[in-house]
């Protein structure tokens, strides 16, 4: 594993190029180009604000912001995992012809997701101010949460991208799974709304504490509860280990399976 890490460092330029390629390609050919990276979350926010303030009245103060704060990190998680699933299979041509540490492919998807997430935060902060919500010192704990989430996302992407080579149905299964997962994560509803008999589902959900942390930082303006994050830390590191080991074991036959 140490060898893989050294090699990944050696290939950092490739990782960087893969990420810029992803970012550039997404809005390739559109008039507004890279601006869409900001426009997308902004317009999303506008729609939610209109819908939840006029059509579906929900008895939560600044509900659209509550939703937005949870939705952005969730999208970082779910899109990274979903896109990375096919990252090995779709780059078969490269894998069969050139040697490079294969980990680069899913990792670059995760990093791209991270960059997009960070850019969307640039929209989030002015939006909070616009809705006259306070930004407190809790924001300084944000990097810790983001790093935690990144570790978890990396673990997941490594795991699913390598498994998908041998079991291509995974891509479709994950699509459905993510939708279900979204609804057992308190993003569109606060934890208080979850009936007690389903509370265990949220408790088991490793993504939920991360979402709480983001909500604490941005929506409630308090420092996240560290106890629950301890478990997330253990889970994230474990998932990264499992992801790397699985990937390391499965990557030997990538070129033949593609």
């Amino acid at each position: 594993m140490l060898k893989t890490l050294c090699e990944l460092y050696k290939y950092r330029e490739m990782l960087k190029n893969m990420v810029t390629k992803e970012l550039r390609q997404r809005y390739k050919g559109s008039v507004l180009g890279f601006l869409w990276t900001f426009l997308n979350p902004l317009l999303m926010l506008v729609i939610y604000s209109i819908v939840f303030s006029t059509i579906m009245r929900i008895d939560i103060e600044n509900y659209s912001m509550f939703l937005f704060v949870g939705l952005l990190p969730w999208m970082f998680f779910s899109t990274s995992v979903l896109i990375s699933t096919g990252s090995i299979v779709n780059n078969g041509n490269l894998i069969k012809k050139i040697y490079f540490p294969r980990e680069i492919l899913p990792i670059s998807v995760a990093i791209t997701g991270l960059v997009n997430f960070l850019l969307s935060l640039i929209i989030l902060v002015p939006a909070l101010l616009f809705f006259k919500m306070e930004i407190t010192v809790a924001i300084f704990t944000l990097p810790v949460i983001i790093v935690l989430q990144l570790i978890m996302v990396l673990g997941f992407t490594l795991f699913v991208s390598s498994l998908n080579v041998y079991f291509r149905d995974l891509e479709h299964i994950l699509g459905v799974l993510m939708t279900a997962w979204f609804y057992v994560t308190p993003i569109i509803f606060p934890l208080q709304m979850v009936p007690t008999k389903f509370l265990w589902l949220v408790k088991l959900n490793p993504v939920a504490p991360l979402m709480f942390a983001y909500q604490d930082i941005f929506y409630y303006g308090v420092v996240p509860k560290w106890e629950s994050l301890g478990n997330v830390f253990i889970f994230s590191v474990a998932s990264l280990m499992i992801g790397m080991l699985t990937f390391g074991y499965l990557k030997r036959n990538f070129a033949e399976e593609l």
Binding site: E13, M14, K16, N17, K28, K96, I98, Y99
Partner: protein
């Protein structure tokens, strides 16, 4: 110093008889094997010293490319070990990592990074790469607007400038125009002089002979010979000639059998439609490979070597006898026998007959043979032999085109059709 060590390496491929099994099939036919294991490489042992240029030769499917992929670390052996020291760059396929929408320059950066270079290292090389690719004017255009030649040039230039300790090349030199090919070869030669190790797969034994000082001949997954490139290539060519001989002999046998069947059909047709006697000639005239009245018939044609053994593959300059067996069916005038040697692209290399050579044949036995002795001064290639017998006025008894095919091999890479007797005098 040994830089590449291959120890008892085995590699198998799993050949599925059908597509990947679906879930239904997995459940229904569980335990029923639907694949076959195929050993592509069997117990390969190889040690390559630093600074050697190694040529891997062998027929299609002999495992050359698989071995190269193993060395590149793209696939892994099932058994055995590979030890490789130093930075490896492989040119398995040019431009594999190119992105069509990026400009040439962007692709240089992108592709070099895929080869493991850092930004600083690429900055240092980029000018050299552009110069080598001869694409100065187009370097800031997107690669999708390039011609395939330009694309390949850029790809080769990028790949070769990675500056590896070990370079693995798979048949990629077949691209580009002659000038660029020469340039590639020159670059590879430069590498050799810098004491880098090169492993090189090629069908072109001339290139291997020119570039490599060591050669490995793979045959059906096994190393059949390895050592100095000249010796290995010679025994490889000898083996190939043997194979070709067997193949051509088989083809001939097949053809002769077909001819017999054809004749039987012909005879039947003649018997059925008696009044159309004339059409016999016509129908024979229509046959593209054989026509004539058959008053004298050519029954058999053979090429014999110096030991009077029939062969289909000869070395350039070898002494050969063309043996034409005939049979007389009817009275005749003064017969003339002729031969014509054509290259497989239709160019006539040489043709003559007994009349041109002032040989008057007044009498023939009922059955016999005409021998044509010749030094086969042809360059390398595939050739066809036409034979004919007619009377002095050109009235055709029997004409058979492409009656016999044969191959000439040459160890020299001269060009042209035939070898003119020559000598050089330098003063």
């Amino acid at each position: 110093m040994t830089v590449i060590e291959v120890k008892n390496v085995w590699k198998k491929f799993r050949l599925y008889h059908e597509k990947r099994p679906s879930l239904k099939e997995i459940i229904l036919f569980k335990g029923r094997g639907k694949w076959e294991d195929f050993w592509v490489l069997k117990d390969i042992n190889l040690k390559i010293e630093k600074g050697t240029t190694v040529g891997l030769i062998g027929q299609n499917g002999s495992g050359k490319s698989t071995l190269l992929k193993l060395l590149t670390n793209i696939i892994y052996p099932d058994k055995g070990q590979l030890n490789i020291k130093g930075r490896v760059s492989s040119l398995l396929e040019l431009g594999a990592g190119f992105h069509p929408d990026f400009t040439g320059r962007e692709n240089i950066y992108y592709n070099s990074s895929v080869f493991g270079l850092t930004k600083k290292e690429i900055d240092k090389r980029v000018d050299e790469i552009i110069e080598f690719s001869e694409l100065e004017e187009f370097i800031d255009n997107p690669v999708r607007s390039y011609s395939s030649g330009m694309y390949m040039r850029l790809a080769f230039a990028t790949a070769i400038n990675v500056d590896p300790d070990i370079l693995l090349i798979d048949e990629v030199l077949a691209v580009g125009d002659a000038n660029f090919q020469k340039k590639c070869l020159r670059k590879i030669n430069e590498f050799r002089k810098q004491g880098k190790t090169i492993v090189f797969v090629s069908h072109d034994h001339n290139v291997v002979a020119k570039l490599c000082n060591y050669a490995v001949w793979l045959d059906q997954g096994e190393i059949k010979a390895s050592g100095g490139s000249k010796g290995v290539i010679d025994s490889y060519l000898a083996h190939m000639a043997e194979q070709e001989e067997i193949r051509l002999a088989g083809e001939h046998k097949q053809r002769e059998e077909n001819d017999v069947i054809g004749e039987v059909v012909d005879n039947e047709r003649v018997a059925r439609t008696k009044e159309e006697v004339n059409s016999e000639q016509e129908s024979q005239g229509q046959s593209p490979n054989r026509w004539g009245t058959r008053e004298i018939e050519i029954t058999d044609v053979k090429l014999l070597d110096g030991k009077s053994i029939e062969r289909h593959v000869f070395d350039s300059g070898e002494h050969v006898t063309i043996q034409i067996r005939y049979k007389v069916n009817k009275g005749f005038g003064n017969p003339v026998f002729g031969i014509g040697i054509f290259r497989d692209d239709g160019i006539c290399c040489y043709g003559t007959n007994t009349e041109i050579d002032n040989l008057l044949i007044k009498d023939l036995k009922d059955q016999g043979a005409v021998l044509f002795k010749v030094d086969l001064n042809l360059t390398e290639g595939h050739f066809l032999l036409n034979v004919a017998v007619h009377d002095e006025d050109g009235y055709m008894y029997d004409y058979q085109s492409s009656r016999y095919s044969f191959v000439v091999n040459s160890k020299l890479s001269e060009v042209g059709i035939c070898k003119l007797p020559h000598q050089w005098i330098i003063s």
